[in-house]
Subunit: 198 residues, 2 copies
C-alpha cells in the first residue's frame, strides 16, 4: 500500500526508470496540469511507452504515486490538529491546507473528485482516507457548536472542492484573480453559528 510496496524488490534498472518517471511526471504536472501527456512524460524520462504503462497502468496510478507522501502528511495533519487545537480552529486550518493541497497541480481537484466514483484504484482509497480525516474534524467543530450542526461532511467537501476548483479555473485571467483563502473564509464564515441566520 505504499507506492512500490514490497512484493519483489524490483530490478535495478526498473527502479531507476520508475524514479525517473516520477520526477518527470511531477515536472509535467506542474507545467501542464494533471492532464499532461503521458507519452511525453515517458519520452522525457527516456523510456518507451510500454515501460511507462507497466509502471503506471493508469493516470490515476501515476497521480497516486506522485502524491502519496502529501496525501499521508495531510491525513496525519488532521490527527495532529485534532489532538492539539480547538476544534473550530483545527477545522479551519486543516481546510486551508486541504485547498492548498488540491491546488498543487491544475486539474487536481477535478481528478480527486472523479476518483471517488471508482473504488478500484489506490487513489480512491487515499482520497477517501483524507476525507474521513476531515469529516472527523468537522464533527469535532460541530460538537463544540462552532459549525452549524446540519452540515454533512460531503456537503462541506463539495463546497470546498468547488471553490478550490473555481479558483484554479480563473488563475491567469485578466479578471480579478480570485484568492482561494478569501473564498474559503467567506464560506466558512457562513457555516459558523447555528443554522440559518435569523
Amino acid at each position: 500500500m505504499g507506492g512500490a510496496s514490497r512484493a519483489r524488490p524490483l530490478r535495478a534498472d526498473a527502479r531507476a526508470n520508475y524514479e525517473r518517471l516520477l520526477t518527470q511526471a511531477r515536472l509535467a504536472f506542474a507545467e501542464h496540469g494533471t492532464g499532461a501527456s503521458l507519452e511525453e512524460i515517458a519520452r522525457r524520462a527516456g523510456v518507451g511507452t510500454g515501460t511507462f504503462y507497466r509502471h503506471f497502468p493508469s493516470r490515476d496510478a501515476l497521480l497516486q504515486a506522485v502524491l502519496h507522501d502529501r496525501f499521508e502528511r495531510l491525513r496525519a495533519r488532521a490527527d495532529a490538529l485534532a489532538a492539539t487545537t480547538e476544534p473550530d480552529v483545527a477545522l479551519t486550518v486543516w481546510l486551508r491546507e486541504f485547498v492548498e493541497f488540491t491546488g498543487a497541480y491544475r486539474g487536481l481537484t477535478a481528478a480527486l473528485l472523479q476518483t471517488l466514483h471508482d473504488p478500484s484504484t489506490e487513489l480512491h482509497a487515499a482520497c477517501v482516507a483524507v476525507r474521513a480525516a476531515g469529516a472527523t474534524l468537522l464533527t469535532g467543530a460541530q460538537q463544540v457548536g462552532a459549525i452549524r450542526s446540519d452540515l454533512a461532511a460531503p456537503e462541506l467537501f463539495a463546497l470546498v472542492s468547488g471553490l478550490s476548483w473555481a479558483c484554479e479555473q480563473s488563475t491567469g485571467t485578466v479578471d480579478v484573480d480570485l484568492h482561494v483563502d478569501r473564498l474559503l473564509t467567506l464560506t466558512l464564515d457562513g457555516l459558523r453559528a447555528g443554522g440559518t441566520v435569523r
Copy 2:
C-alpha cells in the same frame, strides 16, 4: 449577434444541415456532456466533418448556438426580477435559475468558466452579459443590506459556479448525491447579514 445573423441568407441545403447539426449536438451534449465527440455529431447529422467545421469553427461556437436562447432568457430574467421583486429574493431566485442553467449539460459549468479567458468568442460575450446581469442583482441586494457588502460579484460567481460544478461531478455516484439547491442555500445563508458572524 444572433446565431446565423444575416450577412447572406444561407443556401437552403446549408440551412437544413445547420439545423440538423444543432439538433444532434443537443442530443450528444445531453448524453455525453459538452465534451461529446464532434465527429460523431457530424456523423449522426449525416454530414461530413468539413461541413460541420464550416458551420461551427470551434466547440465554443457550437455551444453558443445551442445555448443562445437560454442565455438570452436568463439575462432577461434578471431584468424582470429586478423590476418586480425585492432585491434579496430576486438574487436568490435568479441564482437558482443560474445553477439550473449551468447544470443543463455535464461539463457546461467548466466550459463557461473557461470561456471567460478568451474574449474572442461569442460564447464569451454571452457569458459576460449574463454575469453582468447577475452582478446588478447582487448590488441591489447589497444596497438593501441583505448580502454582506464586501462581497464582489466575481467572488459570488466563483462560489456558485464551484458548487454547481461540484454537484455535477458527484451525480451518478453511490455517494450521498448532493443537491445543488441545498449547497446554494448553505452558501447564500452564509453570505447574508453583515460581514463576519462574530
